[in-house]
Amino acid sequence: MTDTAKTDFTHRHFAHCESGSTSNLLFHYGISASEALVFGIGSGVFFGYFPFLKLNGLPLITYRSFPGRLMKNTAKRLGVGVKGFKFKDPEKGMEALDDMLRRGVPVGLQTGVYWLPYFPPPLRIHFNAHIIIAYGANGNGYLISDPVFDEPVTCTREDLKKARFARGMLSPKGRMFHFAGAPEHIDLAAAVVKGIKETCFMMLKLPVPIIGVRGIKFFAKSIRAWPEKHGKRKALLYLGHAIRMQEEVGTGGGGFRLMYAAFLQEAAAILKDDRLLDLSKRMTVIGDRWREYAVSSARIYKDRASEKDNFNLLSDILLDCAEKEQGLFCDLSEIVR
């Protein structure tokens, strides 16, 4: 690794890695888009329950789209060229990164949080879909914009290589991507509509029972059956895992629903349609309902549940979330039809 010319990259602190990194990269190319707007245009909100895919031996549950998709969707819909690469050979992956940085091009990287040394040790979890931007290098290592941190950070070549080639579920395989310049004209309204249409399709129309609103309902039924099917101890283990997937592993849940509410608020102004303001309020209520589910689950897991907190209640809350999301996305799809 050699020092690169100083790239004039502006680091801004955001709530979530991929939407934050995308917003920062767009800003570098002169496009100002809030994190919520990026999240909506990129169709970030999602639900998937994959009992056959295991993370630490327990089923994968995700509340956002798969890693990299949000960034690609957003760029494509805004007319920004995006190029993506993945590598089998870690050394070649690092050389390709060095090459882009020497040319002064900031690069998005998929990484495993556990190997990023600038994370405080208690927060270094095994999550392999953390998106950051490398924008240069100096004697201390790579210059990194990680949007969940206040300030830019640095990372040595060895640590970054381990993070980029971490093994396990969602392994990054050295994935990196960069933008290829901004278009002269951006049709923001068209991008917003495309983002909404795909979200509605994913949440309502996919003929798979484990994805979207149907996935939430399937998960609700599963969770009701856990104590009888698995016994109390294993049911609690599954429950703890489900809440960590929602609130800890960067997969969102309530938080992402609230971010989508903020997107709908911006979309109302862009599309000049006040009906979206009403949907924004409804999405906030849904986000709060997901949080209620998380709090009740945490109480059950921690053995400090009140009488009303039990697996049946959790299932009921999830079914309510599913019904509310179904109504919201149906109304949303009517607006953008």
């Binding site: 955001f14 709530a15 979530h16 890695c17 405080p120 040790p121 208690p122 927060l123 969940v148 941190f149 206040d150 703890g240 809440i243 960590r244 609130e247 800890e248 592993v249 960067g250 969102g252 938080g255 992402f256 609230l258 971010m259 949080r291 998380a294 709090v295 689950s297 945490a298 109480r299 897991y301 921690k302 400090r304």
Partner: protein, 100 residues
Amino acid sequence: MKLFEQPGLEFEKELLEMIVDVCKIPDPVPDDFSPDDPLIGRDSALGLDSLDAVEIVVSVEKKYNVRINVEETSRVIFRSVKTLADYIRKQMGSEPQPAD
């Protein structure tokens, strides 16, 4: 909780008392627990983890009307009682007053 008795740490002390209450921490807070000590995770002297953080998020929202939206930010916010207090102060723009 001795280290929280110093002048200027009234809000940090109030937050710690709320955390002890909502997370039903059974043992007394160690005297040497400071506002800068890890709040959540393996190094937490209070034994709190991310599931406790969920309860704290909701309690902060209810009591101070401050939303803590997405987990990856909240990881940074929950480094210590001090970082949590600073975040709430920043969101409220002044010394916080309970919403209720």
